[in-house]
């Protein structure tokens, strides 16, 4: 008997929701639109964050320290330095690059047309060198300084600027991204709250009549909550759909032009974002409508 009552109540409430969704189409359109736009910008922000993260991480892990040895260090002595270099804290790999190899790679880098060996004659101006990789990009600075003080080392070179800039950029993207996300979340809640309030206002007769004939508060509330959740959900679906297609197209285009750009494509991270946006839509809808219903339904 109680079950039957509950089912009936659910059925009548859904009827009311359907009615309202059909009758307040302009208002609902506005709510769905604002939710979709908020979540869309939020999604763009999230995609930006995960991509710069990924790019930064890739670049970071590729940062190397070039160690040039003194002219008077013999090749034998130079090769013997490997364990010493490896013992410096933070160093992961130390690859010996004999001067001949250095010249060859320089040649390759400058291209086929130039005849570098002719210009230089027999003399190879390059010293023997080591290519060092650190375990952690943050250790580059310290490791380079230590290596620079080792005997036999002439010069240490690494892309310090790049490292520092990347770290800064990454931090900024995170901070701005987070701020934008929070602000937009608040906007979406506010807009859904406003929509619910307008709906409540448009249906204040119905609400007062419901109360006069003895509806419980929850019977009055549920349709509005459900409506908010449905609107939030539809807005989120819209945002996810637009993001999914435009991001797919954009990454395909970008990979074509800049093949080595390490963009996030497919897989877990994207799915997580899309799921998050959907959940976000539901939560925003629920919060927005709850705020208004609480505020305007106290009779």
């Amino acid at each position: 008997m109680f079950m039957r009552m509950l089912l009936r109540q659910a059925y009548y409430i859904l009827q009311e929701v359907g009615r309202s969704l059909k009758h307040n189409s302009l208002l609902n359109f506005a709510a769905v639109g604002t939710t979709a736009i908020s979540l869309l910008v939020l999604g763009v922000g999230l995609l930006l964050v995960i991509n710069t993260n990924q790019i930064a991480r890739t670049v970071e892990s590729n940062i190397e320290i070039m160690v040039f040895l003194k002219e008077d260090v013999s090749q034998k002595e130079a090769m013997a330095m490997e364990p010493l270099l490896k013992s410096v804290s933070g160093v992961k790999e130390a690859e010996f690059i004999p001067r001949e190899e250095g010249l060859a790679s320089l040649e390759g880098w400058m291209g086929q047309g130039t005849d570098i060996r002719d210009t230089l004659g027999d003399k190879n101006p390059l010293p023997d060198a080591y290519k060092i990789k650190t375990r952690d990009p943050q250790e580059v600075d310290a490791a380079a300084a230590k290596i620079g003080r080792l005997p036999g080392v002439e010069k240490v070179r690494y892309e310090q600027e790049v490292v520092n800039k990347l770290f800064k950029l990454n931090n900024w993207v995170r901070i701005i991204g987070l701020t934008v996300i929070v602000l937009l979340g608040i906007c979406a809640v506010f807009l859904i709250a406003t929509t619910t309030r307008l709906t409540l206002f448009a249906r204040r007769r119905e609400i007062s009549i419901m109360k006069y004939v003895g509806a419980t508060d929850w019977f009055v509330r549920w349709p509005f909550l459900l409506e908010g959740i449905i609107l939030g959900c539809v807005g989120a679906l819209l945002a996810v759909g637009i993001l999914y297609f435009s991001y797919g197209m954009l990454t395909a285009k970008l990979q074509e032009t800049i093949p080595f750009l390490p963009l996030v494509s497919g897989g877990g991270q994207l799915l997580l974002i899309f799921e998050g946006l959907l959940a976000g839509g539901v939560v925003l809808g629920a919060i927005g409508s709850t705020i208004s219903v609480r505020k305007y339904l106290s009779v």
Binding site: R4, Q15, I209, K211, G214, T216, V299
Partner: protein, 228 residues
Amino acid sequence: MISFFNVSKIYPNGVRALQEVSLQIDKGEFVFIVGPSGAGKSTIVKLIFREELPTKGQIYIGGRSVIRMKSGEVPALRRRIGMVFQDFRLLPDRTVFENVAFAMKVICAGRSEITERVPQVLKLVGLGKRMDDYPPQLSGGEQQRAAIARALVNSPSIMIADEPTGNLDIDTSWEIMDCFQEISKRGTTVIIATHAKEIVDAMRQRVVALNCGEIVRDEHRGVYANAT
């Protein structure tokens, strides 16, 4: 059935709408509450319906204190009371049938109960043939009868009307009063706040006269105003 003990109501803006009102209405009675505009008639109706709470005093309905009632119990109270207003308060975008059925859905009545009971009450108020019309298509009197049907559909033990004929001409007002009399004959307590003098004088029912928030007269088989 309904008891007021020294009830005073002062609105937040300081208006003293009722002062030390004591009143006893028994089951099945037919009562007019009369008085000039601003006398406190609507306030009495709102107190019975627990739309407002008194500032002082006690109100009992069916032996239960309205003041000590938790807000969760209010819906149950209202289901035992049918309310009718001067402005009908029908939903214009639903048919007469749906308007009445709405009150049954709110209390989670079954669909078969609804399809049986709604036409029954609509026939009772003389709207058996207008079930599928929308309120704007009806005359004022017909709209008020639809509102009465809605108040009646859940078989309340008390029926309260606040100026139910305030927007209607005298002939239509009589039709509406006949409706209330019919309802009263079936054992429902009927309370009508009104200042329709002719009707009150003709019907010779109990009259509670208010003035400036105080009961100035309470007579059985009374009239709107004393000759003096």
